[in-house]
Point group: C2
Chain length 356, copies 2
């Protein structure tokens, strides 16, 4: 890494959803301009970005023009086609790096990577055929969960195998996509840790949050999580191992199961993470600014929590509650400006500050 | 006022400086788009706005197109030409209203208005000629301060009259602009109060901040101010009188002198105010979002302070300190993305959270 990025420089962001939107705002707060690359029309991030390119990821001329127009590139999601990255990387640096992205894009590679670091993951088995699945169910047992190796999010691309005779319908649900069978983990809590690493190897973590999901989508994150200091330290140490091993630059989100046998890694995301949204109202430097600071080579915020927070996602017609939520004291609204309310669509979130 | 403005609507903002920039970010947080109208190229607010119109205030076609493209109009500064407002107001509502703007645009009208409400102002006298000034200096005494009636900001358009023989140079400094002579106020502190009023008459205030100026420009605002509860209540009551009398909708900043004879109003600004920037890191709903909520007819935030804050402006080559400031714990950076560092130019600010 060279000099820190100078205020006034332009950061290119792949993806124009709510994460790109909140990254844009954070970048602006540090005096950077942002340029969004997004295939969809009217991306939420476009409302707060300096420039928007609307083009598909296979438009290599548009990708090249985008890379030429910016000073560095980051992304808000992990499913960027490899060929697009090849084009971009020829022109400008991308953070977090390709290895982080490749590792998180494939559940098998991710789990093998985590295991290689000595971190615990759920029992898993590679599934390429019905007979693979039949064999795996015998070893791993039921209940278990079948997931596509790639492109899954918010509970999509998943099927539960509650008993051996769910195998055929479960396999059919995957529509021949390469998959992984994961054993159920008997956990007391789900937590996540949002960590950041700068180019000099500096690491900073936010306090772990406790997550509750509904219908496969994050519902709330509560800070502080009901975990011991030792568990919190474990979370920090394992996030640091991942960051260091990947020579990672940027913010990383790691989802963890708390079990009597210790912390088990569910998955990690090489980006800002929904379970880190609480930092907007809990910390002086939030996860979005932390990511920008990291990739720009600026000093990281220290992650200190000034307020306890409960973050709640606003999904689909939760938007009907906005007027009422706007009246609640100690409640910060963060809406994404999405035109269409859809069932299961993340429309915004609130951060409730917990006052004693 | 009709229905509350719906998320997804577009708010037009006259002026593309740092206040417009922070208003844009706040509007986006509530799901609104913003459209900036600004004569200057590459306005700071343009980095975080959906749309920018670059045109002078006498381009009535551009003003009309702007008004047609937005759902309502607000502004970040008070020196908007009357003719431009006439054009805009034909098409879309403007908040705060014309009377608030007209009153604050002229120091004589402002002081007469404040006096008519029974609020205290410094002794003042209208100056249209050198003999007016000579007479006024005899009545008001020295030291006194001569200010242009209109278009002054950050100490510009002001001359100190320290002794009767400063009268001629002081008068020359005004370059024939209609002016006002103000008597010096012997104050112990300068404070300001940031207050908001919604269309239904709902009022909310932030805690008064204590201001320190340097070279006529705000240097720091410290919250809480060193004032008594009674003084704080007085500040709230007088802000509410101004808001109600003007049938005001939006955020108002009122600068006050604390004296043994009570609070004396220095001036008010019909907009978000530099001395309210601390709310970004002290409150769940900051002054920018409060303004957007007010003009959109949304419920106001209650103004509650979660953190004590010292705000410090970064002026001109204070930008050289950014790298060092970025390392400070408990310190939030807010940079405006201005390309050129100029002496006396507001480039950003920091909010230091005071931890006990």
């Amino acid at each position: 890494m060279n000099e820190p990025l100078k205020t006034g420089a332009t950061i290119g962001i792949l993806g124009g959803g709510q994460l790109g939107r909140m990254l844009s705002v954070a970048a602006a707060r540090l005096g950077f301009k942002t340029h969004i690359f997004e295939p969809g029309e009217n991306p939420p991030a476009g409302d707060v970005a300096h420039t928007v390119t609307t083009a598909p990821y296979d438009d290599h001329a548009a990708l090249t023009a985008f890379a030429n127009a910016v000073d560095m590139i980051t992304y808000e999601f992990e499913n960027i086609p490899t060929a697009a990255l090849d084009v971009l990387e020829k022109t400008k640096p991308i953070h977090p790096n390709r290895r982080a992205l490749a590792t998180s894009q494939d559940r098998i590679i991710e789990k093998e990577f985590l295991s290689s670091l000595g971190l615990k993951v759920a029992p898993f088995s590679k599934i390429n055929s019905l007979s693979d699945l039949q064999t795996a169910v015998k070893t791993i047992g039921t209940p278990a969960i079948l997931k596509t190796r790639r492109f899954g999010y918010d509970g999509k691309g998943q099927a539960r195998i509650m008993a051996p005779n769910d195998v055929e319908t479960g396999f059919a649900d995957m529509a021949d996509a390469p998959s992984v069978l994961e054993g159920f983990v008997n956990f007391s809590l789900e937590i996540s840790i949002i960590a950041a690493r700068g180019p000099s190897g500096e690491i900073a973590c936010f306090d772990p949050g406790e997550n509750v999901h509904r219908n496969g989508i994050l519902h709330t994150t509560t800070i502080p999580a009901r975990i011991s200091n030792a568990q919190s330290t474990d979370a920090v140490l394992l996030a640091a191992r991942i960051l260091n091993e990947l020579d990672y630059v940027g913010v990383l989100g790691v989802e963890l199961f708390v079990t009597p046998q210790g912390l088990i890694v569910n998955e990690f995301a090489p980006r800002v993470h929904n379970s880190g949204h609480w930092t907007q109202n809990g910390c002086v430097v939030d996860q979005f600014e932390q990511h920008i600071r990291a990739i720009a080579g600026w000093p990281l915020g220290d992650g200190k929590r000034h307020n306890d927070v409960v973050m709640e996602n606003l999904i689909g017609d939760d938007m009907d509650r906005v007027n009422e939520l706007a009246r609640e004291p100690n409640t910060a609204l963060h809406l994404y400006g999405k035109a269409d309310v859809k069932n299961g669509r993340k429309m915004g979130h609130i951060n409730r500050i917990v006052t004693s």
